[in-house]
Assembly symmetry: C2
DNA sequence: GTGGAGAATGAACACGTTTTCATTTTTCGT
DNA sequence: ACGAAAAATGAAAACGTGTTCATTCTCCAC
């Protein structure tokens, strides 16, 4: 009753813009979806008035009719974990530049909740989903998503051998971790390391097993005895405790490979502040990821680097391509790793 | 042409559920919006069939008609910055539990882009907005948001004196930083500190000026000379460089107050690894925030703690209340700070 | 058994777009 | 200048839901 004409209340609608420009509402729509034909001067006029009225097409309405929400669901266990936060950060930037928005969801380590979370998330109609979560089969994800929503299970630390995925997604992002690990092992061995230990991540996670497997392979190729395994869970605290165990209860080591950089920080602090050992003189340490904190002077960590920016760009490229042409042929992209040498080896 | 009946393709609609349950589509709607009357057995039937068909109400359609998207826009400069990431993490969890989702946007330090970003974000119809961004007046924000969308400018490190906000938001979250700072200064003084320096954050930011002002006030009250100011920008690298400057070019100090914990890490590393000073013997250091990394052994930082969880809970409470009852009276909530003592003073 | 109150239910409309189709206007070749 | 092709434009339908209003049904008091 009060929303009759062009009242100031509420946001501007295409109808109001049309009215002020003496055109039909349809022309306004066309002015924003540039693919159809529209007289240039008329488009300019419409856009000017739209600007004036602070009008933008309502995305809810647009989503309703077009089936595209321009929302990308992102599932993360912990945003505040260093690695994930940097990935979410880069992802959000990239998506934002392409006209999409990041819809963020958190899952606790309680993986049993994931199905409920997925159903919940589905309600928001994301165009695609990127899951940083382990232990969730793509088929399980697919079961909860309708239409042909591409789902990208984004193993935090992917690597060979590839998991046998049979989900709706066939595009794949391969990260070859062999190069970086080979360089690292060669360097450690060059400096005289003989007994190399591995402080693991979450034990049965895809990320951890892939890395451990590759490390074992490379070490065997170079004639080294299999690594001693100290069990962690990707966290600082667990790595700290595991390292102490390794030396107090176990046989120690002269080099330690941590499953990720944060874990490596725990290893370093345990060695220096709890065990009284020197790095790299007594024990050498190598991490995984090359997060921003790794160059901080207190750690100054030698680590196997994943080019995060490049990786996120590739991921976004895959998603958008699949979204634009759902039936395009499957694409595989391959990224490299390499060793970044700092102060914890030598 | 192919989407005629209840094809498997596409997601289930209320109409399909209604058809299978021999009721009208409206009853299905009622079954989900529980406030209206509906025969219990019928509701049970509908919900069962909905479950069976994997149906949930389309949020785009629902948003279109109800005007509520259940999306909360969150603007952050950098997700991967420790403090922000922990806040976003807690925020997402809290919102998720209340049936909302976090819509994440990133702004670079290029503040001139913010208006464009806001217009962009507005297109997604967030029900409310939380901005971690400095230097954006609430009125500027309000100008871009229609309806009565409550906007919460979430100063990273708020404190007295309060900014004179005249925006649409009158609810307010006060963080009293005086208690924590008083405890910190008292302790430093107790251990003999006389010349206290302050390594700042971004200079003209609300966060930084508020903290500096309070520190200055408390120090004056206790008869200390005004703090030497070393200019940083909340980052590790800037604090690192500022500290070196402070000692190489300036007169040094016997205690350093950093504007945030990450900055304090830079201070510590500069002192120990570049200047060869011992902490806390030669110089004492205090930070701000108490982020998760502050207890790591290499830093083991004494710091002024904000109870992040409690704060986010309060914030979400305010938002939801305002959303539910837009005309409810203004509410002020007050939170405390306190000193967490670790190894960098004494 | 009848009237009426209250609950239960259904029909029509609204929300703000995009899209398809038909119609009108412009442009161009001859 | 005429016809046809192409471009520009508008009307109507659709997307899936919530809401208002009118209608039907149920149950109880008299």
């Amino acid at each position: 009753m009060s929303d009759a004409g062009g009242m100031g209340r509420g946001r501007a609608t295409a109808e109001m813009v049309a009215q002020r420009a003496n055109v039909s509402r349809i022309s306004v729509s066309r002015a924003f979806n540039s693919h159809t034909s529209l007289k240039p001067e008329k488009r300019a006029l419409i856009l000017r008035i739209a600007e004036e009225l602070n009008y933008t097409p309502d995305r809810a309405a647009r989503a309703l009719v077009s089936g595209r929400s321009h929302l990308i669901g992102v599932i993360v266990p912990d945003v505040c974990s260093h690695w994930e936060s940097q990935e979410v950060d880069a992802l959000t930037t990239a998506l934002q530049n392409e006209g999409f928005a990041t819809l963020l969801f958190k899952t606790r380590t309680d993986y049993s909740m994931d199905e409920k979370l997925l159903a919940y998330m589905r309600g928001f109609n994301p165009d695609s989903v990127i899951a940083f979560v382990e232990n969730v089969k793509p088929t399980t994800l697919a079961q909860f998503l309708d239409r042909a929503v591409p789902i990208y299970v984004h193993y935090p630390h992917p690597g060979e051998p590839e998991p046998a995925e049979t989900g709706p997604l066939h595009d794949r992002l391969n990260v070859l971790q062999r190069p970086g690990i080979e360089q690292a092992v060669a360097m450690l061995q060059g400096y005289g390391a003989k007994r190399i230990a591995y402080v693991s991540g979450v034990e049965r996670s895809q990320a951890n097993t892939a890395r451990e497997h590759m490390l074992r392979t490379v070490m065997a190729e170079r004639g080294l005895a299999p690594p001693t395994i100290a069990v962690g869970d990707f966290s600082y605290d667990a790595a700290y405790a595991a390292t102490i165990d390794l030396f107090r209860v176990g046989d120690g080591a002269d080099a330690i490979f941590a499953a990720n950089d944060v874990g490596a920080f725990g290893v370093l602090d345990a060695l220096r502040h709890e065990l009284g050992l020197r790095v790299p003189e007594d024990v050498q340490v190598v991490g995984f990821d090359d997060i921003a904190q790794s160059h901080w002077k207190s750690y100054n960590l030698t680590t196997v680097k994943f080019d995060l920016e490049e990786r996120v760009r590739a991921l976004v490229r895959l998603i958008l391509r699949r979204l634009k042409t759902p039936d395009a042929p499957t694409l595989h992209e391959t990224l490299q790793t390499r060793l970044v040498v700092r102060g914890t080896v030598g």
